[in-house]
Subunit: 142 residues, 2 copies
């Protein structure tokens, strides 16, 4: 099942529709292979000769998160960033000085999550593990 099928069946299941605008946002979101923000989608959709309103972009992003194709990541700015959920789960090192984002994976985190959720009878749907500090280069200039 590809992204398009996942999204359209998610929508159909709840009586929502797979509209051209929603498909446009889906396509554009997955043509970016790094972290992106809502504004990026707006600009790129325009550049590709299409038009989807700001409201619809925000509404569609929320749906893509709900259906699990996207995840919201938080980098300490006052607006959201998004990334694909496909591929191995990873987490972030965030540099306070230059804004650099380093991704890392760690398989023990998954076990920690399972243990904690079991203990508290909590049903997880996503997680955030972010270490904030200074990258190698910026640590020198401190």
């Amino acid at each position: 099942m590809n992204k398009k099928e996942i999204f359209s069946s998610f929508l159909k299941l709840r009586g929502f529709r797979f509209t051209p605008q929603r498909e446009r946002v889906l396509e554009e979101a997955f043509s970016i292979h790094k972290h992106f923000e809502a504004e990026d989608l707006l600009v790129r959709i325009r550049q590709n000769g299409h038009r989807v309103s700001k409201a619809t972009i925000y509404r569609t992003l929320a749906l893509l998160i709900q259906c699990g194709l996207l995840r919201e990541v938080i980098f300490g700015e006052r607006h959201s960033h998004y990334e694909h959920t496909l591929g191995p789960k990873h987490h972030h090192l965030i540099c306070l000085r230059c804004g650099k984002i380093i991704e890392f994976t760690d398989e023990t985190i998954e076990r920690v999550q399972q243990r904690v959720c079991e203990k508290h009878r909590f049903e997880p749907s996503q997680r955030r593990f972010e270490i904030i500090g200074y990258c190698e280069n910026c640590a020198k200039h401190l």
Copy 2:
């Protein structure tokens, strides 16, 4: 060294001043023993018969985070929450339905952080580990 000494020496070190307003914010922030937001401080300071402007509250919160007495926590709302850094480091389970926050501790997380930071030569100053999903009660109603 108590909070007041930590804060005032942090300020003095950088040529800043330990003013009555900053002391007021410090006191009020530490009289709350749970997560709080900027607005909470404003209201409580007024209720206690004092007055500190919104601008000064935000400015002081930033200083308290810089000096390590407070930490910003993110609960998926569009404004920040804060908590004390004293006591054992803990993390959060966040319920998407009722907003309940469950705190948990896990000693392996610290080791993961050390390992990752060493590998990437990253100088950590804080971290966030948040599991988002549904609490025991809300999972039923899903």
